[in-house]
Symmetry: C2
Subunit: 327 residues, 2 copies
C-alpha cells in the first residue's frame, strides 16, 4: 500500500502521521512541540525528524509500505501554488519556502496548504463530513479557522485566502478582533474570547466558582475551565457557554445562507462543551438561517480531533498531485 506523510504544523505542536492513499489507515501518528523559538531552520529540522520517525513506525507495522509523498498543513496566509508560507505571526515566519524545505529534507515530493483547509478536507475525506459534496469546517482554538470544501475540493479563492470564517463580522460595532476588524466571530467565540468574557463578568461583580478554580487569578481562566465549571452547574459558566452558542449560531447561520452546505463541522476544544453548546447553537442557527438551508445541513462536531489535519494534509497532496501542482 502507498502512504502519504501528513504534517499538521501548529503554533504549539507538530503532528505527523502516515496516511494510506485510500484514507482508511493512519500509521505512526506522532506529536512533538513546535518550538518556534528555534527559528525557521530549527522548526523545519523538527518537522523532518518527526516525519522520519513516523515513517519508521509505519515500516515497523507494514514492512512493504511505500511512502509516495508528503502533504503539509501550515498556518497562513500562504501561496500553495508556490509552496510558500507568506506570513505566520505565531511562528515568526515570513516568506518561508516550506514546501521545498520539507521536500528536500525528506527526499519526497511535497504539497502545501492551509492548516484549517486541511482540517476541513480531512473531516470531509474520512470524518464527520464524509460523503457530502459541500462542507465547511470551523476550527475553534486560539483563533477560529475555517475551511470550505465545494464539490469535494478545497475552495481557495483568488489569492489563497478564502475561508476565513472566523473573521466574519457578526456585530459591526462590537469587540475589536486581533485582525483589526470589529465584531468578528473569533472575537466572541475563540477559546481566549470565551475565557475573557467569563473573566470580564467576574470582574464586573458576578459570583462564580471560576474565581476559586483559578485561585483568584482571573487571567488563568481558559475556555476549558469554563466548560468544566459549566459541567458542575456554575451559573456564570453556563451563561458564557449559552452566549457562545448564540454567537456561533449567528456566525454559522450566515454560512448556511451563503453556502447552503450539507455539513458544518465544528472542530477544536469547544466540542468539549458537548450538547450544552451544540443544542442551543443548532437552535440559534435554525432561528436565523433560511429554512431550506437549515433543512439541508447537519451541524456536527468533528470526529477526527487528533488527526483531521494530518489526514487532510495527505489528501491535499493527492489532490494537488492530481492537478499537477506538486513539487
Amino acid at each position: 500500500m502507498n502512504y502519504i506523510v501528513g504534517i499538521d504544523l501548529g503554533g504549539t505542536n507538530i503532528v505527523v502521521g502516515c496516511v494510506s492513499e485510500d484514507g482508511t489507515r493512519v500509521r505512526g501518528l506522532v506529536s512533538e512541540p513546535t518550538r518556534s523559538d528555534l527559528g525557521p531552520d530549527g522548526v523545519v529540522a523538527r518537522m523532518v525528524e518527526t516525519a522520519k520517525r513516523s515513517i519508521e513506525l509505519l515500516k515497523k507495522e507494514e514492512a512493504t509500505a511505500k511512502v509516495a509523498g508528503v502533504g503539509i498543513g501550515a498556518p497562513g496566509p500562504l501561496d500553495f501554488h508556490k509552496g510558500v508560507v507568506l506570513l505566520a505571526p505565531n511562528l515568526g515566519w515570513k516568506d518561508m519556502p516550506l514546501r521545498s524545505r520539507i521536500s528536500e529534507g525528506l527526499g519526497l515530493p511535497a504539497a502545501l496548504d492551509n492548516d484549517a483547509n486541511c482540517a476541513a478536507l480531512g473531516e470531509w475525506w474520512q470524518g464527520a463530513a464524509k460523503g457530502s459534496d459541500h462542507a465547511l469546517a470551523v476550527t475553534i482554538g486560539t483563533g477560529i479557522g475555517g475551511g470550505v470544501i465545494l464539490h469535494g475540493k478545497i475552495y481557495h479563492g483568488a489569492s489563497d485566502c478564502a475561508g476565513e470564517l472566523g473573521h466574519t463580522t457578526i456585530d459591526m460595532d462590537g469587540r475589536r478582533c486581533a485582525c483589526g476588524n470589529y465584531g468578528c466571530l473569533e472575537a466572541y467565540a475563540s477559546g481566549p474570547a470565551i475565557a475573557l468574557r467569563a473573566a470580564e463578568a467576574i470582574q464586573s461583580g458576578y459570583e462564580s466558582s471560576l474565581r476559586a478554580r483559578v485561585g483568584g487569578e482571573l487571567s488563568k481562566i481558559t475556555a476549558q475551565t469554563v466548560y468544566d465549571a459549566a459541567g458542575e452547574g456554575d451559573e456564570l459558566a453556563l451563561e458564557v457557554v449559552r452566549d457562545t452558542a448564540t454567537y456561533l449560531g449567528a456566525g454559522i447561520a450566515n454560512f448556511l445562507n451563503i453556502f447552503n452546505p450539507e455539513v458544518v463541522v465544528v472542530c477544536g476544544g469547544v466540542t468539549a462543551a458537548g450538547e450544552r453548546l451544540f443544542g442551543p447553537m443548532q437552535r440559534e442557527v435554525a432561528r436565523r438561517a433560511f429554512k431550506p438551508a437549515v433543512a439541508a445541513c447537519r451541524i456536527v462536531p468533528g470526529t477526527l480531533p487528533g488527526s483531521a489535519g494530518v489526514l487532510g494534509a495527505a489528501k491535499a497532496f493527492l489532490d494537488q498531485k492530481g492537478e499537477g501542482l506538486v513539487a
Copy 2:
C-alpha cells in the same frame, strides 16, 4: 447566429431579450409590467407574449437568426433541476413548474435559475466581472439579492439556496429583517431600509430637505429621494448614504474574507448614489477585510443595469444545456 431568449422575471417587470450565443448582442430588449394580480397563468401568458414580441423584433433585425432556447431568471427559492419555483411571495406563487410552462408556451427547450444568480452570471459573462474566475454580485433593490460565481459557474449549494448575501447578519442584535432574522445586511441597506432610516431620523427630530421633498409624508421617502437630496448637499441624506456605505462595507468585507473573490459587483438602484457611496464603502471594506483579500478584489458598480438578468438567464440556459439539465 443562434440566439437564446433571456427572461428576467421580477415582481414589478418582465424583461426579455434575445441574446446571441457568444453573448455579444442583445436584440429585441422589451419590458412589460408583471401584473402578478393576474395570477400564475396570467403572468405566464404575459411572459410568453413578451418573449414572442422579443423574437419578432430579433427577426426584423436579423432575418436569418435562429432561436435555440430560453433561459428564465425567477425569484426563489426554486429547484433548478426540476425547473420549479418553490415559493415566490412577491408573485403569490407556490410550487410553480415555470420551466415547462414557458417551454410549452414558446415551443423551445428551457432552463430556470434564480434571478439574482442570473444577474451575477450576466455581469460575469459580459459586464463588470468579465474575465474573472470568482465573482460575487450583490443586487440592491426592494431586497438585497446575491449571486456567487465560482470557477465561472453559478454556485448553487446543496439545495439551490446558496448566495443569499443580503441575509447575512452584520449586527446580531440589530434590526429585524423581513426574513425573520435580526441584523441582516438587507435590513440596513436595501432601498426600503435606506428610506426608513432617513424617515426615522426625521421623525426623531433631524432637520432635512427630505421632509419638504415628500410634502411632509415621510412614508413617501424612497432611496432615490435620499440620493437626490444627498446630491444637493442635504446633511441628513448625506449621513444616511455614509451609513449605508458603512453597512455595505461591513457586509462586503465578510464576503471578501469568505470568498476571496476577484470582483464584487454592486447592482441596482443604489449605484445611483455613485462615488459618494462607493468611495466610503470601499474604504470600509479595506479597513475590515484581510489585506490580501482586499488587494485581490475590485468592488465596482454593475455595467449592465438593464440587461444583466436577461444575459445571465440566457447564459444559464447555455450552461445547463452543457450539463444536460435543460428540459
